[in-house]
């Protein structure tokens, strides 16, 4: 099977290419902004971290601080969140047999946002004792359960019904978020800006949390990658091939919700990344989840990092990243939806 081997080698090459592009993007983006720093100076700063700060004497003394404490945490957080959301998209699409499924279209992002807004509201009134990520996770899980319950008959659900119930639940949740905003009164700005999605003012602990959870998600997804391929035959056939669909579904849906919740609690609602990236990568590497998962993570990271750099350093004023991805991703969603309709009725 030369065709398979060829595309296998090509896929390894592509993965390497994406990884290189990501590292390059991180270095270049670290230099971009109000204070311009050349890529070589960024590298000097990075190398100096492992070298007790040696070799930085003939450089602007604020560069190391700007790179290490201001830009890099934000850049890494955006890259990790982008990659993680793309992988969650892959997981949801495979497990629900629907190429239009992602945390955003299923309403899970809204659920996490509702939970997080509630936590923010409580924090405004009750001091900061409520954990935003925990509330986001509970909101995400409850929403997932509600969406699946709405869509299923006798434990089975049709995939388009699932998107519909996702939309319905998300609509209710956004009304709920509106109510929370109303309750927040004068402090409403905190919630609104956070909801629109932003990577501004991220620190190294944000990087650590998102990285840890994303790695867990990535490993769980990769562990089940081949089972997810089999799953595309439908649950009945997959079970007859030895895949424990019920268990796998539970584990992956919970994992996906957890990753989504952490992403949302760090950066607000950022939609459509989980939809666009897997779709694009599927066109390049094919539907095999063993290839789709790592390449989607890298591509998602590059996309989000680039988008965030554009809004941070290129645009005259910072546009919330969630607004930017929705403006770009929404029309793309329409395009996929439309072309799939075409396939079905032609």
């Amino acid at each position: 099977m030369t065709a398979n081997q060829m595309s296998g080698r090509r896929c390894a090459g592509l993965t390497f290419l994406l990884l290189t592009a990501l590292l390059l993007a991180i270095v270049v983006a670290s230099g971009m902004g109000y204070l311009e720093i050349s890529p070589s100076e960024v590298l000097q700063v990075l190398v100096a971290q492992f070298n007790d700060g040696a070799g930085l004497d003939n450089m602007n003394q604020s560069f190391p601080f700007v790179v290490m404490e201001v830009r890099l945490p934000r850049i890494l957080t955006s890259a990790i969140v982008g990659g993680a959301l793309a992988v969650v998209g892959v997981i949801f699409q495979a497990i629900l047999l629907n190429p239009l499924a992602d945390p955003y279209t299923l309403g899970i992002s809204s659920g996490a946002a509702f939970g997080a807004s509630l936590a923010l509201l409580l924090n405004l009134t009750l001091l900061s004792v409520v954990s935003v990520p925990l509330f986001a996770f509970l909101g995400a899980l409850a929403t997932l359960a509600a969406v699946i319950y709405l869509a299923s008959v006798d434990g089975r659900f049709a995939s388009n019904t699932l998107i519909l119930s996702g939309v319905i639940v998300a609509a209710i949740l956004s009304a709920g978020i509106g109510f929370i905003k109303y309750m927040a009164d004068e402090q409403v700005g905190v919630i609104i800006f956070w909801l629109m999605g932003s990577f501004a003012a991220k620190n190294w602990s944000d990087v650590g949390v998102t990285l840890a959870i994303s790695l867990v998600g990535l490993m769980v997804a990769f562990f089940y990658a081949r089972d997810l391929n089999i799953m595309s035959l439908g649950p009945r056939a997959a079970e007859s091939l030895g895949v424990d669909c019920v268990r796998m579904r539970k584990i992956l849906l919970v994992t996906g919700s957890l990753v989504t919740a952490v992403c949302v609690s760090v950066s607000g609602i950022i939609g459509f990344v989980g939809l666009i990236i897997p779709h694009l990568m599927r066109m390049v590497v094919g539907p095999d989840n063993r290839r789709l998962i790592p390449t989607s993570f890298l591509a998602g990271a590059i996309l989000m990092l680039s988008a965030d750099t554009v809004t941070r350093a290129v645009l005259p004023a910072e546009v919330p990243i969630g607004v930017l991805t929705a403006l770009l991703g929404g029309p793309f969603f329409c395009y996929i939806f439309r072309s799939r309709l075409g396939e079905r009725y032609v």
């Binding site: 099977m1 065709a3 190429p99 081949r226 009945r236 056939a237 007859s240 091939l241 030895g242």
Partner: protein
């Protein structure tokens, strides 16, 4: 008693219900190896549910169900997947896998979690595709195939699973007569030559009469009649269960019984 211990499947007092609705009631059956079994009955008589129970996708509400003397629920899934394969009736795939990818999925129970298909796996997949008449389809996308072509890909995938028991759930309902016969011939060959066992839910009674050694006739979740094809497929049984006036006669050209349907008598 020796016949009992030879049984492949042993179904004892099995019942099953979806919520309030009883789908199967007190089923008692034994399936012996090296036979072609046909499962017939009107829509909603419980054929698919019985097949799902046999393959371990469902667990009986009561009663016991064993395969080779061991409870089906006691088998690890992968081990069961090397014993039983299923050709389902409906197949809608959303992602553009190639035909070869899908047929190779039949080798899933033999490939370690992080492994890739061996040359033997590829060989088995190629042979299955040749047997089912889809050689040359390897690199076509399943999303671009017609319903009938998809159905044959699914059948090839089940053949590639190389299980001693093959379960077909109205596997040929989308196929034209030539491809239907092709699949039945391939499957019958597996019974005659390799000693496999086939259990097939079949809508077309003449197809059942032509290929099955034994027939299980279900009516409203109960076994109405079971035994040799010519004993079960009688004018009286068909009239009583399907409510169709009919004639059954021996056909000299095909050398098996033939049913002619006259009119719905209900």
């Amino acid at each position: 008693m020796s016949a009992m211990s030879d049984a492949l499947f042993d179904v004892r007092n099995v019942s099953f219900s979806y919520g309030e609705k009883d789908v199967l009631r007190d089923i008692n059956l034994t399936f012996s190896p090296k036979k072609f079994y046909g499962l017939i009955g009107p829509n909603g008589s419980g054929k698919t549910t019985l097949l799902d129970l046999l393959i371990g996708n469902l667990e009986p509400a009561s009663g016991s169900l064993s395969y080779k003397g061991r409870k089906i629920s006691g088998y690890p899934r992968r081990e069961l997947a090397r014993e039983l394969s299923l050709v389902p009736q409906d197949f809608s795939i959303q992602f553009s896998y190639t035909v070869l990818d899908v047929v190779l999925m039949g080798r899933h129970p033999y490939i370690p979690r992080f492994g890739t298909p061996s040359s033997h796996d590829l060989e088995v997949a190629q042979m299955a595709m040749a047997a089912i008449g889809i050689k040359g389809f390897e690199n076509r996308f399943v999303t671009e195939l017609s319903g009938g072509e998809k159905q044959r890909v699914v059948a090839a995938r089940a053949l590639a699973q190389e299980t001693p028991v093959l379960i077909l759930d109205e596997a040929t309902s989308n196929l034209d007569i030539c491809h239907t016969l092709e699949i039945f011939q391939v499957v019958q060959q597996r019974v005659r030559q390799k000693g496999d066992t086939v259990i097939a839910a079949i809508h077309d009674l003449n197809l059942a009469a032509a290929y099955c050694d034994e027939i299980i006739f279900l009516q409203e979740g109960r076994v109405f009649s079971a035994g040799l094809a010519e004993d079960v497929l009688t004018e009286k049984n068909i009239r009583e269960v399907f409510g169709v006036e009919n004639r059954v006669y021996y056909d000299e050209f095909s050398c098996h019984h033939q049913i002619t349907f006259l009119y719905a008598a209900k």
